[in-house]
């Protein structure tokens, strides 16, 4: 490129592009300002004058490269568009930056509107994403729910209950469609979102379940169901609604407010004073974690519901907002226990404390109770019936006897201490402490934190053996050993199953015999249940009488799986015999003393030569079993 071309290029880039008139006007203005035009006549030169005035210049040929003027305007437009693109990029960068900072600094949960929160929850349900669902629930209500969800899904994968911990609901397709919502404000930061329309559909896809679940659901196929979301509470003549709350500018679905609002509306109780609990936090609660726990226990025993309400964290469980409704509903509730001794031991860590409660006392009936950590000791009441037999052999119940036995339950079982104690010796996982949280300098008993602690420990305590037993597929457990005729095996003292293999032959008749040192269980006739599976995993129907003197005839040669479920609290021994060589105790086991002996008047099962009878009993809730079978009758 020539030097002249370069100079033209530089000249062309000088100043601001403008029209010819503009350039001439500017030149004239500059010339007038410097006096260069003095004496110049502002008339157009006549013919011949111009050449006389013009300097004589010798024109030289210049090698100029062609310039396509058609592109000049588009270049300017391109520059403007490029600037707009760059500006868009800057805006997008800022947006991403704000998102990132918000993600690191803020909670990142919730939604921008009450309806948005509900839709987000519906989306999480549709995607089978429990963590996303937890993300849109009021954070104070579900403090560590995500940890519990994570622990549960990991445990489920570890035990092959699900194929992938990250998709625990794989095989269950949930879908929320056509959601129609309306919002009604309940107060500043509180809104009721009513579901006017929409459906929730569920579909099971068996092949997507884990192999274990497919075996558990062996007899069922794929199922589908759909429900109109707007009619979920139709029985109570209420619309379906969800209460949402606002925290730090984000809206969340509140499970606690939703439940309490339903309870209030169903019972036509006074409306809630929304937000009053949070505002009054500094005046509620207790001075110390220990005072919160002991205060709650005393309030419970005295039926002082106002005090109990004041000891619940207002943002976690908003009973203070609903105090008018709760006090109205609880007016007729009077606890029936007294506190004899109570002591606490607190471990404080920041704004959370764990308080171990030890207390004891009596009920109004005189029965003793006690709490030690999460273990509750109460009375397991059993009812037994006496009877008389008339000359015709008919039996008539004539007496009842109630027996109270001290029973201790821990962990999840201990939580149910007000209900009948649960015989679940696998739920020994226990949290020793009650969770207490500090808000506005005051201490509150955290029901959610306490329950989740116990649930976490219960989840941690679940084993393959207990899970498979619970799912009724104990035969899938790896065998604990091999059964040999006449040789006893000792079962673990647990309700979980003991699994043994036995090599049998077609037509072989076997009997079982059990011995246990747990006299209570033996007397109740509640010791061991046996099931036998053939080599194809099919249960043999005749196995149930193995310990009752009824021999099991094996249908074919092969390896059988014997599953024993012991309900005793001490080790139990079982022995399998060939019927011909079985001792008398196996052929004719004694009737448990706790079961009622009776004169036979019932039907005779000619097939086994045995007779069974179940007396007509008065309609009562009883834990004792009174039916019996009498061998050899």
């Amino acid at each position: 490129m020539s030097e002249l071309h370069d100079r033209f290029e530089r000249l062309a880039r000088r100043g601001t592009p403008r029209g010819v008139d503009s350039v001439l006007d500017a030149a004239r203005s500059v010339a007038e300002g410097t006096g260069s035009l003095a004496g110049v006549v502002d008339d157009a030169p006549v013919d011949g004058e111009a050449s006389a005035l013009a300097p004589v210049v010798e024109i030289q040929p210049v090698d100029l490269q062609p310039f396509d003027l058609r592109h000049a305007p588009s270049s300017r437009r391109r520059r403007r568009t490029g600037s707009m693109v760059a500006a868009g990029g800057v805006a997008a960068t800022l947006f991403v930056g704000v998102l990132a900072i918000g993600s690191f600094v803020g909670s990142g949960g919730g939604s921008d509107s009450p309806e948005g929160a509900v839709r987000q929850l519906a989306s999480a349900v549709s995607h089978g994403d429990p963590l996303a669902a937890a993300d849109v629930l009021a954070p104070e209500e579900v403090r560590s729910l995500d940890g519990t969800v994570n622990a549960a899904t990991k445990k489920a994968q570890e035990l092959t209950l699900v194929q992938d911990a990250s998709a625990p609901l794989s095989g269950l397709d949930l879908s929320v469609d056509n959601l129609g919502l309306t919002t009604q404000s309940l107060g500043d930061g509180y809104a009721k979102v009513t579901v006017d329309g929409g459906t929730i559909s569920a579909h099971t896809d068996k092949p997507k379940f884990s192999p274990l679940m497919q075996k558990v659901l062996r007899d069922s196929g794929d199922n589908s169901a759909s429900t109109d979301l707007s009619k979920l509470a139709n029985d109570e003549n209420l619309p379906t609604f969800v209460v949402t709350v606002q925290h730090d500018g984000h809206w969340y679905v509140s499970v606690a407010y939703t439940v309490l609002e339903y309870v209030r509306e169903v019972n036509h109780a006074p409306p809630a004073d929304f937000g009053s609990g949070v505002k009054a936090t500094a005046t509620l609660g207790a001075d110390t974690p220990d005072a919160a726990v002991t205060g709650a226990l005393q309030a419970l025993s005295q039926g002082d519901w106002s005090k109990l309400i004041a000891l619940a964290p207002p943002d976690e469980i908003p009973v203070y907002d609903y105090r008018a409704a709760i006090l109205q509903l609880a007016a007729d509730s009077h606890p029936n226990f007294n506190i004899g001794k109570v002591s606490t031991a607190a471990t404080v860590s920041g704004d959370t404390a764990k308080v171990k409660l030890t207390a004891s006392g009596t009920t109004n009936d005189g029965a003793k109770w006690g709490v030690d950590g999460s273990c509750f000791t109460g009375s397991d009441e059993s009812v037994s019936f006496g009877s008389v037999t008339d000359s015709s052999g008919a039996i008539t119940p004539d007496t009842t006897q109630v027996t109270s036995t001290p029973t201790t339950e821990c962990g999840v079982g201990g939580l149910l201490f007000l209900a009948a104690p649960v015989r679940d010796t696998d739920s020994h996982a226990s949290s020793d402490a009650i969770t207490v949280v500090k808000e506005d300098g005051r201490w509150f008993v955290s029901p959610v934190g306490t329950v989740l602690d116990i649930v976490d420990q219960a989840i941690a305590g679940v084993t393959q053996r207990s899970l498979y037993t619970l799912l009724n597929v104990p035969q899938l457990l790896p065998p604990d050993g091999t059964l040999t005729l006449g040789k006893p095996v000792t079962l673990p003292a647990s309700s979980a199953a003991g699994v043994y293999t036995f090599t049998g032959h077609a037509g072989e008749r076997v009997l079982g015999q059990e011995t246990s040192s747990d006299t209570t269980a033996v007397n109740d006739g509640f010791t061991t249940e046996v099931r036998v599976f053939d080599s194809n995993g099919k249960a043999l129907d005749q196995a149930y009488g193995l310990f009752e003197g009824e021999a099991l005839q094996l249908p074919a040669d092969g390896t059988y799986t014997f599953v024993f479920e012991s309900f005793t609290r001490s080790p139990e021994t079982v022995t399998i015999w060939d019927e011909a060589n079985a001792p008398e105790a196996a052929k004719h086991p004694s009737v448990p003393s706790g079961l009622q002996e009776c004169t036979i008047t019932g039907s005779v099962d000619n097939g086994t030569g045995r007779t069974c009878f179940t007396p007509a009993l008065p309609s009562q809730s009883a834990t004792a079993t009174t039916s019996t079978s009498v061998p050899g009758a």
């Binding site: 995607h127 669902a133 992938d164 990250s166 998709a167 794989s170």
Partner: protein
Amino acid sequence: MPEGTRRAAPVADVVYLAGGAALLGSAFIQWVARGEGSGLRGHALVDAVVALGRHVPALSIGRLTVLWYLVPAFGAASWIACGLTGPRSRVSRALAGAALVMSVLVFGAFVRLVGVDRLGWGPKVALAGALALCAASWLPLRRGGRCT
């Protein structure tokens, strides 16, 4: 300059911009198709998938989160570069290369963390966007042009 090459210029501009848009947009679509994390983004998403128990060597939660946010950030930066210097400038090419490296890293990390079956459209779109940026940066066209 051949006529065909000159026509490629606006195509490259569009491809470069689309690549940037894909990188940016990937942050707003699902990175996990179903199950845990499918409704989450950013820090919460990384927390959720890392909490599943698998891990990527040398990629902690913090590092992976930063990488995740760099994907849309590179998309946005590519628009700036394209607008100011054009898709074939040294800056645009550097950004395209970096975006590709970043996208491959994050894509690989998510494959490891959630598996191919549960991989959502997010990492796929991000990877496609980065590839588009690179393609546009190295397409044969005249030099020095600005976007559109």
